[in-house]
């Protein structure tokens, strides 16, 4: 038996019929001259605008990307199998738009905002243009609030602030997505809305990410935008912009949002395909001339906007709030080669990068972040006080350790000070390891860093460090709940807190239970 759709309720149909605008409007029409590889050449369409939606017969849509003297090059968004030479194409007078709003949270949508998770239609009240210009300089505010990823290695050494663009770069299969997904999971209680944009990935990988988000209660504050490898190149090209528009909805209304582009390499590939098929001249690595602009205009939209912007945007309904959109773009390198075209472009656009290395990964260090070359150019001013105070030493210890480790391979006997430094470095390296899907609170990180800074780890074996940390956290969370709560809420590191931490860790060590 056929089933009724939710959109087939009589009242809804009645309303639709009532609202139908049947006045005839003048429209611009053209004729399809050729259809090939998702690119349609249209003759006519004299009044077409760049980026305008073009409507074909049978309800297919396209986007006008090449405006030439005698023809218009249109990329088809979706299936182009029904299109044929001689059919008509109509201008719609609109540029590409996607639904935006709170209603999208918890949903999985395609690049055009249509639900693909089988949970029924999305009742979004508003739509917004996919391609928008980033807020100008006078609407910007400095980055000074932390965006906790929950990874102590990241939050201590390459802190990310709200409104920052931090690149995650590295080879395939060594945990780039893991860092981004954990950052999303860690926003569970922070009120930060998340958007995960999957571009050119396997459906199975995407299903996995969605399931993990669901398992960790993180889907409720997340929108997943999917343009998988099997979808049209045009959709893979549009998906990051669509996701960005959904994120800007929250930013513009004085909220904080986090967007993950996973990954921009594949978006560049899709754009390269479109450009070559549109016969635009190829440049380096066969990318078109505007592949830098492709990413710069996208990442520039991730920003922190000031109170005036939010007030003006909401017509004074939201007062005294700043908005932010933090971006974590992901770039996949081939054999660690960061000097390829797209990686260098995105490195230069973003405010820092988290470098994930296969050498670290193979040495069992997870997250496989290389602390030496990973940087955050603006996050320092946004870091929580306690992490900033205690994390400074970690970076230094690791830097010294790397130098000494290289040097000590030649020297057989080392003096006392060098040996101590080496051991400290090993311990810190061990301490920086962290399991996937187990983000830490600020207080937990603070306690771990405090223990390392104040030499509480020095009498432990390397293999004991992680069990020790785990036991210490559970002790602190149960026995010192007030102190932990205070740290989590204020993020301060005062003399009193320092003393309290010291006595707490000493008490724990006295129990010898790890």
């Amino acid at each position: 038996m056929q089933q009724l759709n939710p959109s087939e309720i009589s009242d809804i149909i009645k309303k639709r019929i009532g609202n139908l605008d049947v006045t005839s409007k003048a429209q611009n029409e053209g004729t399809i001259v050729s259809v090939a590889d998702g690119i349609v050449k249209v003759h006519g369409l004299g009044d077409v605008m760049y980026g305008e939606m073009i409507e074909f017969e049978q309800g297919a849509f396209g986007m006008a990307l090449n405006l030439e003297r005698d023809s218009v090059g249109v990329v088809v968004l979706g299936d182009y199998l029904g299109l044929a030479e001689g059919q008509t194409a109509r201008c719609t007078g609109r540029i590409l738009e996607v639904p935006v709003g709170e209603e999208l949270l918890g949903r999985v949508v395609d690049a055009l905002g249509n639900p693909i998770d089988g949970k029924g239609p999305i009742d979004a009240k508003e739509t917004d243009a996919v391609e928008k210009v980033a807020p100008g300089v006078i609407w910007r505010q400095g980055v000074d609030q932390p965006m906790q990823t929950g990874y102590k290695a990241v939050d201590a050494m390459v802190p990310i602030g709200r409104g920052q663009r931090e690149l995650i770069i590295g080879d395939r299969q060594i945990g780039k997505t893991a860092i981004a997904v954990d950052a999303i999971i860690n926003q569970k209680n922070s009120g930060v809305k998340c958007i995960y944009v999957a571009v050119g990935q396997k459906q199975s990988t995407i299903a996995n990410v969605v399931r993990k988000l669901e398992e960790h209660d993180a889907l409720a504050h997340t929108i997943v935008v999917v343009a998988s490898a099997s979808e049209a190149a045009a959709l893979q090209f549009v998906a990051p912009y669509a996701g960005c528009t959904m994120g800007e909805y929250f930013r513009d209304r004085g909220q904080d949002a986090l967007i993950v582009y996973d990954d921009l390499t594949k978006q560049a590939w899709a754009y390269r395909q479109i450009s070559l098929l549109l016969k635009r001249p190829p440049g380096r690595e066969a990318y078109p001339g505007d592949v830098f602009y492709l990413h710069s205009r996208l990442l520039e939209r991730a920003s922190r906007v000031n109170v005036e912007f939010v007030e003006k945007f909401t017509d004074g309904k939201v007062k005294g709030q700043t908005g932010s959109l933090t971006a974590l773009p992901i770039i996949e390198t081939q054999g660690g080669d960061v000097s390829a075209f797209v990686p260098t472009n995105v490195i230069s656009i973003t405010d820092g990068q988290i470098f994930v290395e296969s050498a670290q990964f193979n040495a069992g260090i997870r997250p496989a972040m290389n602390a030496g070359v990973s940087v955050s150019r603006v996050g320092g001013s946004a870091q929580t006080k306690i992490i900033k105070k205690l994390g400074g030493g970690i970076r230094l210890a690791l830097a010294q350790y790397r130098e000494l480790a290289a040097f000590s391979q030649f020297a057989s006997d080392l003096d006392e000070a060098t040996r101590k430094q080496l051991e400290h470095g090993q311990r810190v390296t061990e301490l920086m390891k962290q399991n996937q899907y187990s983000p830490m609170s600020i207080a937990e990180m603070g306690v771990s860093l405090f223990a390392a800074e104040n030499e509480f780890l020095n009498d432990l074996k390397i293999s004991e460090i992680l069990p020790f940390e785990k036991a210490l956290h559970s002790y602190m969370n149960s026995e010192q709940a007030d102190l932990m709560k205070q740290i989590n809420e204020t993020g301060d590191f005062s003399k009193e807190i320092e003393a309290a931490l010291k006595s707490a860790v000493e008490q724990f060590k006295a129990t010898q239970s790890w």
């Binding site: 149909i13 639709r16 019929i17 609202n19 139908l20 605008d21 049947v22 005839s24 409007k25 003048a26 429209q27 611009n28 029409e29 053209g30 001259v33 050449k41 003759h43 006519g44 369409l45 004299g46 009044d47 309800g59 030439e68 003297r69 005698d70 023809s71 109509r90």
Partner: protein, 178 residues
């Protein structure tokens, strides 16, 4: 097709500007129309494509067909085309020439598709309304198409105004589907 336009445009533009300077817009229009008609004839078109004939021979053939209506300047134009090996472009050149001419004369042809016969009074109403809207002299071409069910569809160049019952039904179907 797009490429043909690009190739034909400079020839059409030159012919058009020459015709204006000579004050013979209508004559050139008739001339080009005739040659284009001749060139699009199937047999002539095949001849023009025949590789065993030289360009000059092809020009001779065309001029022979149209000699009664073609003046010296027109002859020169055909010979020039043959010299550049662009004779097959003639129909496109004529088309673009007509577009230039229509632009110059501020005239436009509107194709009106209707479900029923349109009487003279209705036609006058349509022409007046279109003239106001397009700011052009309008010549109507009426086509009857029962499939529209009712109403008219007006087409001038790229612009389409769909006031037919069929168009409205399609709109309704779409709004119910979305």
């Amino acid at each position: 097709m797009a490429d043909m336009n690009t190739l034909a445009r400079p020839y059409a533009k030159a012919a058009f500007e020459f015709a204006i300077s000579e004050g013979k817009l209508a004559e050139w229009s008739a001339m080009l129309g005739l040659v284009a008609e001749a060139a699009s004839n199937k047999e002539v078109a095949n001849l023009l494509k025949n590789p065993s004939l030289g360009s000059e021979d092809k020009a001779e053939i065309l001029l022979e067909i149209c000699k009664a209506k073609i003046d010296d300047k027109g002859r020169n134009f055909i010979l020039l085309l043959s010299e550049k090996d662009r004779l097959p472009l003639i129909p496109v050149i004529a088309e673009i020439y007509e577009a230039f001419k229509a632009e110059q004369e501020k005239s436009v042809e509107a194709e009106v598709t209707s479900a029923f016969e349109i009487n003279a009074e209705q036609q006058k109403l349509l022409v007046d309304a279109l003239r106001k809207r397009l700011d052009r002299e309008v010549s109507l071409k009426v086509v009857i198409d029962k499939r529209l069910i009712g109403g008219v569809v007006i087409r001038t160049g790229d612009l389409v105004i769909d006031g037919s019952i069929r168009g409205k039904l399609a709109k309704l179907a779409e709004s119910l589907k979305s």
